[in-house]
Symmetry: C2
Subunit: 266 residues, 2 copies
Amino acid sequence: MFEVIGERINTSRKKVQAAVEEKNAEYIIDDVKKQQEAGANFIDVNAGARIGHEKEDMEWLLNTIGPITSMPLCLDSPDPAILEMAYEMVEQAPMINSISLEKDRFDTMMPFLKGKDCKIIALCMDDKGMPVSSDDIIERAQKLINELEAVGMKQDDIYIDPLVQPISTDSTKGIMVLDAVRQIKKQNPQVHITGGLSNISYGLPERKIINRTFLTLMMDAGMDSAIIDPLDSKIMAAIKTTDMLLGSDNFCMEYLKGVRSNMIKS
Amino acid sequence: MFEVIGERINTSRKKVQAAVEEKNAEYIIDDVKKQQEAGANFIDVNAGARIGHEKEDMEWLLNTIGPITSMPLCLDSPDPAILEMAYEMVEQAPMINSISLEKDRFDTMMPFLKGKDCKIIALCMDDKGMPVSSDDIIERAQKLINELEAVGMKQDDIYIDPLVQPISTDSTKGIMVLDAVRQIKKQNPQVHITGGLSNISYGLPERKIINRTFLTLMMDAGMDSAIIDPLDSKIMAAIKTTDMLLGSDNFCMEYLKGVRSNMIKS
């Protein structure tokens, strides 16, 4: 089953930032409940936007969200000190967003991850920047997988983000990622593939149809998780429909549920 | 580039049948022009619905359509006598819809095809009925390809229809076809894959989202043609968007044209 990481609790979103500033717990609780009802499997929590306030904002957000949901959270910060605090605050084993091959981030995150009970999003980014080919993505992913396994993480807890890039800059950017994902999954069947989709449509109009069509293609290639807005019913409908077409929805139960709840419309 | 076979000129559609009965040429001409403007590459012409009148109806339709378009037609009939007449009437090398491995149809169509300048849709149907597995589809396709090549047809003129079956009856019916198409294209890169999509959603609600999501998956597998209604702007938008994401739309020109003409909407 495809896993949805709900992206909405992020202080870079104006309304979330305002709620954090005003300690408006009701707004945050309502948003989390809506994401859960819409089918989120994880709630991403990112408190990075108010410079100098990340620690207190993360703490308040986790204190606000913790009591009202049993869903696992995705703790989203580049700072291991904040992740340590957050990790201690959550009930369920969280997902951590993220590690990469950039030397600074890699060197600070590896000691944090050692011995932790968590899932980890691993970005195919290194100090040279974004990957430039399918092989480059595959190599970076394999390096991340090997390093994470070496500190005791299971493949099933590793979520590789191949880093989707804009099709507007180069018409091969779509197949570059699709080919890489197929290969990574072939070599590491237990590893998950995740990430945001919206970079694919950067610079183009009517972006959402591009994002959800690309998600359908990515699911076929092996993507089994994504960081998206679960309140976007069209992308959720694309996920349910694609899951069914790829054989993961026995008796079309989830599809039919989506139609009954008005999420799926022709 | 993906090829659209416009399916609308079919006397099983009420309005077309009425137009044929009333010799309402204007209606037919208008419909063909709309299909052409919407991006059809072929116009399917099927006059089979009025029992006993197929020959005269086909003749009238071709006389009506011929003078107003330079687009190739797809002559859609099980009767070689009617196809012979139709073949002589058209200016451009037509597509013929269709041959299959059913003994009667195969034995009457093969002599017709010998030496003709045309494209042919070849259905993976035989006297046992629909194919029951990926391997079954692949075997039937290969048999059709071999037989057609043996009478002098080029791979590039062969359009294999793998016969999409309802996902509601069996959750593996989607991947069964997708896997088969990948394999057929791998073994015969010049051969085209075509067909209708709507069988996939038979028995389910909100069918169109299923059809167009499946089309995106089929295009990734290697389908490069389909028999659809080009006036369904959502399925045309799915084709343009998928073509772009799979690297077939340099500088996103076709996508941007689709947005400007209001065909593509988020």
